[in-house]
């Protein structure tokens, strides 16, 4: 006689045993509320972080739990901060390593919203090292960690400031500079203003003429920074001038781009220049194209263009990084006349050594005014000049005051006030 094997019963038993083991394991390793013997942090104070004017931070302080350095075989190793909008479940947002550190800043909050805060003391078995998860730093991965949670406190609101008094100096300088530019604009509309000759810019027209005579194209590169960079904007104004000349002489201009938005704007600029020159049909949009936004991928492609198309003139205008020397050296090798302009001070030495003419720093910004003579751009350039005069005068006055203050201590408070005003 054979008895039927009680499969269902055994399966149920096995499942129950597995569930039991799982619960035991979870119980052993979970970071949960600690027994009563583990004291929690007390005297929790929360206030708006005064250093932060955006209203996204709260500063929290607490008192170290009394007599908590060592409880049974557990040692107090740090704290975990919980936060949530009032009425919602609190979640860990910050961990603090070290029993002695009793303050933290909770970030990325919304200004004006109400938050509740809770602080837990984290105890580890003696000999266990503090460790947190690499991806989620608020998760404690040290084995056997237990937490003693304080009562939730709050609600508290991070407050955003409408005006940051610490940055009044920035506002004062911006307003002063704006006023100077407006005054210069007023005068620039009435009469021509003098700008000293800049050799690199005088050479631009020669370079265009050379390309036309040789029947070869010109290459224009507007750097590797994006559309919002001042150097890129300055380079586009220069491109407008070069494109107008190129259109007048019907000399092709190649503009490889590493940013799609820059390409879009440069197409507009070149198209407009061809229209202004009365040759809209000669405009070839395919000459202004996107390559890639990878720095050296772009560089290798432009190098290839230089050696295959053999442009007679290369213009490097804008912000450049490590590719500056590679581009300028390849252009030099092909025998092109090269004019560079950048405000990247680390790359200027390479352009100076490998190019025929280099516009250094502010000369790049001056170029657009110099070439166009537009009253608005002239006013900006003059405004910068007068700003520099004020800056130099301020520096000389400051150094004089600092030096006199060494021998006349009664002037020291004035010097301290000046330094404090410059403080960001």
């Amino acid at each position: 006689m054979t008895s039927r094997f009680p499969l269902k019963t055994i399966r149920s038993l096995l499942l129950a045993a597995a569930a039991g083991l799982y619960l035991l394991a979870v119980g052993a390793f979970a970071q949960g509320p600690a027994p009563q013997s583990f004291p929690a942090p007390t005297q929790i104070t929360v206030q708006d972080d005064e250093a932060d004017k955006s209203g996204t931070r709260l500063q929290i302080e607490w008192a170290m739990p009394t007599g908590a350095e060592r409880v049974d075989e557990f040692v107090l190793e740090g704290y975990r901060i919980y936060a949530a909008e009032a009425g919602e479940e609190l979640v860990p947002v910050e961990v603090v390593e070290g029993a002695e550190t009793t303050e933290a800043v909770v970030r990325d909050l919304w200004p004006g919203k109400e938050y509740e805060i809770q602080v837990s003391a984290v105890y580890l078995p003696a000999g266990e090292t503090w460790a947190t998860d690499r991806k989620d730093p608020t998760r404690i991965t040290a084995g056997g960690a237990v937490e003693a949670l304080s009562a939730a406190v709050g609600p508290y609101q991070p407050i955003a400031a409408w005006y940051d008094f610490a940055e009044s100096n920035v506002l004062a300088i911006a307003l002063m500079y704006s006023l100077i530019v407006l005054l210069c604009f007023h005068f620039a509309r009435r009469r021509d203003m003098y700008i000293r000759p800049i050799p690199g810019l005088q050479a631009v027209n020669d370079a265009i003429g050379r390309a036309t005579e040789m029947g070869r194209p010109m290459l224009f590169i507007s750097g590797l920074s994006g559309i919002g960079d001042i150097a890129t904007i300055a380079s586009m104004l220069i491109l407008g001038h070069i494109a107008r000349r190129a259109a007048a002489y019907e000399t092709p201009i190649i503009v490889p781009c590493n940013d799609p938005l820059v390409m879009t704007v440069e197409r507009e600029i070149v198209h407009q220049a061809y229209i202004e020159a009365g040759k809209p049909d000669a405009y070839e949009p395919q000459n202004i194209f996107y390559i890639t936004d990878s720095q050296f991928g772009y560089t290798s492609a432009v190098d290839g263009i230089m050696v295959r198309e053999k442009p007679a003139a290369n213009f490097f205008m804008g912000y450049f990084y490590a590719e500056a020397l590679i581009l300028a050296e390849t252009g030099n090798m092909t025998g092109a006349i090269q004019i560079a302009g950048t405000d990247a001070d680390t790359q200027l030495p390479f352009f100076i050594t490998a190019c025929d003419y280099t516009l250094m720093g502010e000369e790049l910004y001056a170029a657009s005014a110099y070439l166009s003579r537009s009253p608005l751009l002239m006013a900006q350039l003059k405004g910068q000049d007068y700003g520099k005069v004020l800056l130099a005068a301020g520096l000389l006055a400051g150094v004089t005051l600092a030096t006199i203050a060494v021998f006349a201590p009664q002037l020291q408070p004035w010097f301290d006030k000046l330094v404090a005003w410059l403080q960001i």
């Binding site: 940055e167 920035v170 300088i173 911006a174 203003m193 003098y194 700008i195 000293r196 800049i198 559309i227 919002g228 001042i230 904007i233 938005l261 879009t264 704007v265 507009e268 390559i291 890639t292 936004d293 990878s294 991928g297 772009y298 290798s300 492609a301 290839g304 050696v307 295959r308 490590a322 020397l325 001070d345 680390t346 200027l348 030495p349 390479f350 100076i352 050594t353 250094m360 000369e363 001056a366 350039l381 007068y386 520099k388 005069v389 800056l391 130099a392 301020g394 520096l395 000389l396 400051g398 150094v399 600092a402 030096t403 203050a405 060494v406 000046l418 330094v419 410059l422 403080q423 960001i424």
Partner: protein, 245 residues
């Protein structure tokens, strides 16, 4: 069947590591072949480089920007990082601005593409003005203003410190004079700007040397890769390399 610690085979029985080393070595040599002149090998490497980087950039933008920053918070808020309870409707505005860029494909409405560009340029200008004033004017002024006759606590004159401060202020004022465009560089202005250009060139020389040194170390890294990682795969062993312990 090899276990988890067994060799990982790639193509033609070669391990993926060896294939990787060969690809890197051949592409390195292909790019260096440009030193000889433009050639088909360089062209192949250049096109691979451009193609892969452009495609990688597009894929990265699609996943990290379009999906993660726009699509998920708008249409799958539970999958957004961090998860959201409700769709983040404010993202409709940047999403629409982004879509306007595509108006360039319709000549009649291509003027609409100027809106997002104007927005970006305005935003960057607004963000960069206070930052530029803080870092390029205030911080620099603060660092430049120092006594040219400093004394220590005992009243002793600090010669070198004073000389450094004097050099700093002279350098700054003369360099500013070089970048002054409203007067011709003649007379006093010419003298000041000439001193300024000397300061600039000394600075550029130091920068040049520093950067060339860094580039040489990059070249050394590539040569070491070829000598100590690639050559051993074809049975040529030149030692364990300078980095080996």
């Amino acid at each position: 069947m090899p276990g988890p610690t067994g060799p990982i085979t790639g193509i033609l029985g070669l391990s993926t590591e060896v294939i990787g080393i060969w690809l890197a070595a051949l592409l390195t040599l292909a790019i260096y072949s440009f030193l000889y002149g433009d050639n088909p090998v360089y062209k192949v490497a250049e096109h691979i480089f451009v193609g892969i980087s452009a495609a990688y950039g597009a894929a990265l933008t699609y996943h990290l920007v379009i999906i993660r920053r726009l699509f998920d918070p708008l249409f799958r808020p539970d999958l957004a990082q961090p998860p959201l309870d409700v769709p983040k409707l404010s993202l409709i505005i940047p999403g629409l601005l982004g879509l306007l860029i595509f108006s360039r494909f319709i000549p009649r409405y291509d003027w609409l593409s100027r809106w997002p560009i104007a927005f970006i340029m305005g935003l960057y200008a607004g963000l960069s003005i206070p930052r530029t004033i803080q870092t390029n004017i205030l911080k620099q002024m603060q660092a430049t203003i120092a006594p040219v006759l400093p004394v220590d606590a005992g009243g002793q004159y600090l010669f070198f410190s004073g000389f450094e401060n004097l050099l700093l202020i002279v350098g700054v004022v003369c360099t500013l004079a070089y970048f002054y465009f409203s007067l011709p560089h003649r007379g006093v202005m010419g003298g000041l700007s000439r001193v300024g250009i000397w300061f600039l060139m000394i600075g550029f020389g130091a920068g040049f040397g520093n950067t060339v040194m860094a580039r040489i170390s990059l070249l050394i890294g590539r040569i070491q890769f070829l000598l100590y990682e690639w050559l051993p795969t074809i049975g040529i062993h030149l030692g364990s390399g300078p980095g080996a312990g």
